[in-house]
Every structure is written in C-alpha cells, then in structure tokens.
C-alpha cells in the first residue's frame, strides 16, 4: 500500500517484511484485531435491528470492494455490478436447490460462476474504454435482468427463488445472531484477500494498467488479460456478496438487482474513495447508515412543533430521500476524493498538531 504520510515516531523497520504489512503500524493492527474481537460479542449485546444493518454492510461491502478493484484500481467502469450481484444470489440458490450442494460450498462456487459470467460480459472491456464501456456494461445489466425474469429453471422467474440458510456441522445459521458471524467472517476474509491482492503482483498490474497502459505493456503486462481479469475478480466479489445476501434473506427475487443497485454501488465507492480498500468499507457504512440516521432525524422532527404542520408531516418521507441525495452531492463537491482521503487528512492533522504542516 502506498503511503505518502510520515511514519510515526519510533516505528523503525529492520526488515522488508516489516515494511510490507497491511497495517501501517503494529498499533493499528492491534486495534483492528481488538475491534473484530469486540464485534464478535455484538450479537449478545445489540438488538437484531443493528445486526441486520451490519449484515447489510457485510454483503454490500464485499460486492463494493469488487467494484472498487475494477473502477478504482483498474480504471475500468461498470454499470452492471448490481446484476452480477444478482447472478451470485441466484446461482447459489440454484446450485443448492437443484443439485443439493451444501450451501457453504455453493457460496464460493457462485463466486466463480459469477466470475465467468463477468468475464464474458467483460470481453469488450479489453477493447473499449470510458463511456463506451459504460454503455456496454449497461447492456449487461439489462440482459441479465431480463434473464432473471425469464429463466424460470434458474431463477424461478417472477416468483423468485428460495434459498436455504447456511448450515455447517449441524449448526443452522438462520437467525440474525448466528448469521452475523458468517457475515463477519466473510467480510474480514474478503477484505484481507483484497488487501493482499493489491500488494502482490496482480494488484500492481491493475494499477499500472490504470495509470499508464502504454508503459504497463512495455513492462511486460498483458493489457487484455488484466482488463479481463479485473472484471473477473470484481464479479467474483459481487458473486460472493450476492450469495451471502441470498442465504441471509432466504428468498431471492429479480426485482432487487436493478440499475439502481449498480449505481448505489458506484456511489458507495465514490463516497468512500476510489482505489482504497479502507475507503470502500467507509463508503458502504456511510450509505447503509445514512438512511437510518435520517430516519431517526425525521422521527425527531415529528415530535417538535413542526410535526403539527400537515404539509411537513406529508413531506417527511420525501425529506429523507432528498436529504440522502443532498448529502451525496455535498460529498462530491467538498470531498471528491472520498472519505479515505478525508481520513488521511484528519490523521495528518493530529500527527502534526499544533503545527499545520
């Protein structure tokens, strides 16, 4: 991971291994481990409602990281990520109900199948770029949506498909409390996977293709291969996320995987920070919690004097929707590089405090 920041005082590195860690310092690593350990206790303390939110963060976060690998790191664009998420969801449910493959095996298999589908639709990506690619992936979105609606053998058509809960060694993960652990494990695993990918050969090749494809080619990187592989890895993530979503809800319907979802994924990574693993998670948390926070705000408004004005009461539902849009627009104006960048700035501020630079 590249970092321009000054290293903290007293953090001396004596081997290349120490210089190659995911976390910048030991303290950050310990804090991260402590946070994950603490999260393990969450189902005993927190309400099921908050667990639902976390599980949402998990499956959306996994899929969003995939999109960030494609858009942020490789510099390609995709407007069909929501559909790939759907492919993962339906495939996992289909594999389980039609072939009786255990669910825990279906999820990675769904990932690989979605990867194949993604690479098929990503084929034009090795030839075209920018807006043209956006349109090509838009086509993928609509073709897949149509497929979900028509292929009854696969998706159950308009009726949708049911998905069994995950069961492992006799334990059935069908409640929020139990599924929470699956979600947590998947999130941590896929994010570490992402971090490692970006600091090894393929990750560097992705960024090289994004930054300067001509010199990347001279450096021995096969452009077509990496543009396609990026689509594959991104769809793999979408497939895993989608499969988790299916087995969590227990029911998959084609209506969920529209262009709106694809755009929501894009919004998440733009708000979080393109080309940042950490930023992806921040963006997802932001987008999942924002409606909840606004819901709470609207609820409070109802209790004040404003709540007596009929026009306001009628409009409250819309205020929430508009506020989400407004927050996103403000974010793009004031922090176009995303939350990850803002976070780095805040960290630097405290590092240099009380001096400004």
């Amino acid at each position: 991971m590249s970092s321009l920041m000054m290293r903290p005082c007293g953090d001396f590195r004596t081997s290349y291994k120490q210089d190659d860690t995911i976390y910048e310092t030991n303290t950050i690593r310990l804090v991260a481990i402590a946070a994950i350990t603490l999260l393990c206790a969450a189902p005993m303390v927190l309400d099921a409602y908050y667990l639902t939110l976390f599980i949402q963060v998990s499956y959306l976060g996994i899929a969003a990281l995939g999109l960030n690998i494609l858009v942020g790191y490789t510099g390609q664009i995709s407007l069909g990520h929501g559909a790939f998420f759907g492919v993962g969801a339906f495939t996992s449910a289909w594999l389980n109900t039609s072939f009786g493959i255990p669910v825990w095996l279906c999820i990675p298999m769904a990932g690989f199948i979605t990867m194949a589908v993604g690479m098929l639709f990503g084929l034009p990506a090795s030839r075209i770029k920018g807006l043209y690619l956006a349109i090509a992936t838009l086509a993928a979105q609509f073709i897949l949506e149509d497929f979900f609606a028509r292929a009854e053998w696969f998706s159950g058509g308009s009726a949708g498909a049911s998905a069994e809960p995950i069961s492992l060694m006799g334990i059935v993960f069908d409640t929020d409390e139990s599924f929470f652990y699956i979600a947590l494990f998947a999130l941590v695993f896929m994010y570490i996977w992402g971090c490692n990918l970006m600091r090894s050969r393929e990750g560097r090749a992705f960024v090289a293709v994004r930054d300067h494809y001509l010199s990347a080619e001279i450096m021995g990187i096969k452009l077509n291969k990496y543009r396609l592989l990026s689509f594959g890895v991104s769809s793999f993530y979408a497939g895993i996320g989608g499969a988790l979503y299916a087995h969590y809800l227990g029911y998959v319907s084609a209506e969920g995987f529209t262009i709106f979802m694809s755009i929501q994924f894009l919004a998440m990574i733009i708000i979080g920070g393109l080309g940042s693993v950490k930023g992806t998670l921040m963006g997802v948390v932001f987008m999942v919690f924002l409606p909840e926070v606004l819901e709470g705000g609207v609820g409070m408004m109802k209790m004040t004097d404003w709540g007596n004005i009929p026009m306001v009461v009628d409009g409250l539902a819309y205020i929430k929707e508009m506020a989400i849009g407004l927050v996103i627009i403000l974010f793009l104006i004031f922090e176009p590089e995303g939350m990850a960048h803002r976070w780095a700035q805040i960290k630097n501020y405290w590092k240099f405090y009380p001096f400004s630079y």
């Binding site: 990918l197 050969r201 990347a216 450096m219 021995g220 592989l229």
Partner: protein
Amino acid sequence: MSKPILKVEHISLAFGGVKALTDVSFEVEQGAVFSIIGPNGAGKTSMLNCISGRYQPNSGSISFNNKDVTHLKPNDRADLGMGRTFQNLALFGHMSVLENIMVGRHHMLKNNWLTGPLYWASKAQQEELEHRREVEEVIDFLEISHIRKSVAGTLSYGLRKRVELARAMALKPKLILLDEPMAGMNLEEKEDMARYILDLNQEFGITIVMIEHDMGVVMDISDQVMVLDFGKKLICGLPDDVMADPYVKRAYLGIEDENEQLEEIS
C-alpha cells in the same frame, strides 16, 4: 563487443502518406552504447517504438538475441529482456516509487490472483520479499532510496527520469532503450544521468540504445552513433567519424565552418 544483440533489417514505417522510416538497417553489438541522433521528426522515436513493439513496421525485420521479434507484442519483449524509458514521462503516477519499480519485476514474479491473496499460505510473500531485495539493489544503485515511498507523480522531473530508468533496470534487461534520458535536465543532473548510463553499461553489461540531443553527451559516452534524417539512415559509425561527415554537419549540426564545429564539440 562482438556479436550483435540487436539486428534491424530494412525497416520501413509509414503513417498514411508520411514515411516515418525508410529502409533503415543497423546492428547493435552486445555491450555497446548506441546512440541515435537526428533533427526533430527524423523518426528516432518511431525507430525505438518499432524495436520495443509499440509500432509494427510495414516491412523489414528486427531480431533480438538471434530471435525474430518483429511481430511480438511489447509485453513479450519484456520477457526476452528488453526494457525502455519514454521521452515524455510514463511513470505510474499514483503508485509509490517502490511499487513502480516492483512493476518492473512483473514478468519474473509467479504469484497470480489466487495465490497472491493467499499471501502467507502460498509462496507469494516469500517471492515478493525476494524481489523486493533485488529491487532495493536497483534503488541503491540509482541513489533514490530517500524517495522510495514517495508517490511517483509528486516527484521532480529529474527524479522521475531516474525512477523510470530504475523501473526499466528492474526488468533485468539485456537491452535498454532510452528515449531522451537527459531532456530537460540541468548540467548536474545530466552528468549524473550519464554516469548512471555508463555504470549500468559497464557494471551490469546492459546494452544501451539511446536517443539524445545533447551532442556533448552523445560524443562522450557512445560507442556508435547513427544519424537519421527524414526517416533515412544517413550514416552509422564511430562518434568521431560521424561528426566528421560533411552531410551530418550540414543536416544536423548546421555547421559549415571547421573551426566553429570544433568549438561546438568541445
């Protein structure tokens, strides 16, 4: 200094009606410093692009290490041991200097999208660290260890050129193509760069094909000089012979008078 490592035979390249190169042939001996000079638009960079695979010549052939590479893709030439730098900087702007140079090891690394992420379980970490060690040697050699962690896009021009050279060196090439390695540098930076070029030629035995406008440098460090003009080869030989050629004087240096020329060179 005997067998040719690069053999260019009757290369012609045209863009529509513009003939960038016409029937150019030359040989570069193993371990030589070979310079290509010529006025702007003479086809020097086109020649380099043909060698590195950016352009496909319309006719003619290029062989590298006794292997015909005329129709090979640029990325396959990297595997054979051909590195290059660009005239206009072509670093990966958002990567750190270290990562930029590590990209140069791409064709030697073996981890892929499945084994790379299984960093500790597979051999990926060990492999990355081994290559890191070798990359550090390159960093040491070019004296850029102080900017190792800086983002490449934020560096000064001279340093970026040096990082680009480091990235090409990390390929472990047998041949490096340098496109104006000293353009836009001050005297001190030019001297440094000339020293690095000589060092990597003599210490590592890397053959160098270089385009350069600074005649002083070209005359000082080249073993052979080729002059291109309007896509045609004018002359190719020892620096002194090339300088003595009356046509070169007229076409490229614009010097008519013998005394004036001597002043110019010294």
